[in-house]
């Protein structure tokens, strides 16, 4: 039972990251590698602020803002500097390595003796006795659902509509007398804000910040988005922002199964194969649709 709980916990945390990747990869069609840097950025900001005695909840908010700033810079490099999307992300990711080390002070910051969002008097009072085992999951669930609903709300506004248009057809955005570049920058900022938020939650749940925690974050996010959107495509009553969470939980479940039955060193290959199979299925369909037209 406890294994299911921890898998759900991790899946939902990475689901928040996947929400961010969904904005860049699916909506903006922007392969954003900033994610590998903004995920630990959230952790670094969280760890640094919490060890200085700041409220862990406030740290979440500031982590979001820090991530948004990083995303905005990637956007500025791409839009104003006319650097290719992939390279803009790589530049930011590389720079963030140093930034993260500077913010956190060292490469490994333990939070065992600190109060986190998961370990404080309020949580202890709200979840007495055996309920305590579910407290972490419940809290992550609330944060994840909160992030999802806020994003849904935003995508429903005029600015959100422009964001969705920018990926499909930026001429439409221009024809509405709006700057498509600015829309992209806003999208990247929100996406990386979400990614950093996930990083901050992850680091509080693990009670340690580790500089290497961002390695491969982009791939996990992408895998979650693709698994989620491909597997649950038929269930049209589910919003895409919901399915990416399912994708993340399934991804983490696969890792859990791989740990149980395979050597973890085989994990990357298993992920790659799973990834490929799902991609092949979804492109098969696209090709067919085109053939019919």
């Amino acid at each position: 039972m406890s294994l299911i709980i921890t898998t759900m916990e991790q899946g939902l945390i990475y689901g928040i990251l996947a929400l961010g990747v969904y904005i860049t990869y699916k909506i903006l069609d922007f392969p954003d590698l900033t994610v590998d840097g903004s995920f630990p950025l959230g952790g670094a900001v969280g760890a640094a602020l919490i060890t200085k005695g700041m409220s862990p909840f406030l740290a979440l908010l500031l982590a979001f803002l820090a991530g948004a700033l990083a995303g905005m810079l990637t956007g500025l490099i791409h839009v104003k500097g006319k650097v290719r999307d992939l390279l803009a992300g790589i530049i930011m990711m590389t720079a963030l390595w140093t930034v993260n080390l500077r913010i956190a002070g060292t490469s490994n910051v333990p939070l065992f003796s600190q109060k986190t969002i998961f370990k404080n008097d309020l949580i202890d009072r709200m979840f007495p006795g055996t309920l305590r085992n579910y407290a972490t999951l419940a809290l992550i669930f609330v944060i994840a659902v909160g992030a999802k609903l806020l994003l849904d709300l935003y995508l429903g506004t005029k600015s959100g509509f422009l964001l969705r248009a920018a990926g499909d057809n930026d001429k439409l955005v221009t024809s509405l007398a709006k700057d498509a570049g600015n829309v992209k920058i806003i999208g990247l900022a929100i996406a990386n804000g979400l990614v950093a938020l996930a990083g901050c939650v992850f680091c509080q749940e693990e009670r340690v910040f580790e500089i290497s925690m961002g390695t491969g974050a982009m791939v996990i996010g992408l895998a979650s988005v693709i698994i989620g959107t491909s597997l649950f495509r038929k269930l049209s009553f589910l919003k895409t922002t919901t399915t990416v969470f399912f994708g993340a939980v399934i991804y983490k479940l696969c890792v859990g199964i791989a740990i149980k039955n395979f050597e973890p060193r085989d994990m990357k290959l298993i992920t790659a194969v799973l990834f490929l199979v799902i991609l092949l299925i979804s492109t098969e369909r696209k090709r067919k649709v085109k053939g019919n037209a």
């Binding site: 490469s107 693990e206 340690v208 060193r265 199979v277």
Partner: protein
């Protein structure tokens, strides 16, 4: 037709995922109080190793040897499960979670990130965690200032005998002034070791020159730049650097300066000498502590973490010959010689 087929495939993957999910759910069993044929209790230990690495592998082997010396042997009264996180934090944490879900009798964590994730996962349970190859348990918040454990967690530290190392370098190279150290900026252990080096360097008349890298690809250039500025290099237990040791040795050889190691494996590879750790011994020491905890002789929270008792001197005579360096009688007498 094609569309229908892909629909089928889609359904298939869907049901596959469901089957996998069920397999995962039913897979996690409850605690088994297993007994062997003689009716003795079988202890279950989960080993969570952070990365594939010669020193860490030695730790693990030593750990099993240490347990064996205390009468706990795999296949007889011990069941071991080894998992490797391939240097990924998320995986390390999932490994720890699984060991806790499986209600292991003890979790052995090798290297700092694994130790921290295991401690975090087992914090609210009765499962003791024993760690090894953690350089600074105090900074990692696994122990307090007085070596007292932070909970049901204790183990061994692989803090380097840095003063001994400096003294040895002085003995071998009486004229040397500058020591170069390569390190990875992301490794907290390396940074704390460098701080200790810098503290003591002056006592032995040395100056420390460091070069930091962020990954393997930068090692060759950093080594190239560093060898021109110093009289010798000395290694920490920095994972990235140790993994690229052959590259570094090559550059040092071209510049005709010696490289000092931090453990026996490095001397075997071509370092001149090391006042260093024997990770198998460190593992053994850890295994003996684990045996005490398993048999109920002591609780993890009552055992202070230990450092290795006494460093060992390793010398490589073949490398010395190449460099035209001769070791004094006194050194040779106390050393283990690699050729």
């Amino acid at each position: 037709m094609m569309r229908r087929m892909s629909k089928k495939v889609g359904k298939l993957t869907g049901s596959l995922a469901a089957v996998l999910a069920i397999a995962a759910i039913t897979g996690c069993g409850s605690k088994q109080e297993a007994k062997n044929e003689q009716g003795e209790q079988i202890y279950r230990i989960g080993i969570s190793q952070f990365a594939e690495h010669a020193s860490l592998d030695n730790c693990r082997e030593g750990f099993l040897e240490g347990l064996k010396e205390e009468g706990l042997e795999e296949g007889k009264n011990l069941k071991i499960e080894v998992k490797n996180a391939a240097a990924d934090m998320g995986t390390a944490s999932q490994i720890a979670d699984r060991f806790v879900a499986d209600q292991m009798d003890l979790i052995c964590a090798i290297a700092t990130p694994s130790a921290q994730t295991a401690f975090n996962a087992a914090m609210d349970t009765e499962i003791p965690v024993i760690y090894t190859a953690v350089t600074d348990p105090e900074t990692a918040e696994l122990a307090g200032k007085d070596k007292k454990p932070a909970g049901e967690v204790t183990g061994t530290s692989d803090r380097l005998p840095i003063k001994d190392q400096l003294e040895m370098i002085r003995q071998i190279l009486p004229e040397a002034k500058k020591i170069g150290i390569l390190y990875t900026t992301s490794e907290v252990n390396s940074l704390s070791a460098i701080r200790v080096y810098e503290n003591y360097a002056e006592d032995y008349g040395f100056e420390i020159v460091t070069a930091g890298v962020s990954n393997t690809s930068e090692i060759a250039m950093a080594a190239e730049a560093l060898v021109g500025k110093v009289d010798c290099l000395t290694n920490l237990t920095d994972n990235t650097v140790v993994n690229s040791l052959p590259t570094i040795l090559e550059r040092a050889k071209e510049a005709e300066i010696p490289v000092f190691g931090s453990e026996i494996e490095q001397v075997k590879l071509g370092c001149l000498a090391a006042e260093g750790l024997d990770y198998v011994e460190l593992g053994k020491q850890t295994g003996k502590m684990a045996a005490k905890i398993l048999t109920g002789e002591a609780k993890a929270s009552e055992l202070e973490y230990e450092e290795i008792s006494g460093g060992n001197l390793y010398l490589n005579t073949a490398v010395a010959e190449q460099l035209g360096i001769s070791f004094g009688e006194e050194l040779l007498e106390n050393a283990e010689i690699c050729e």
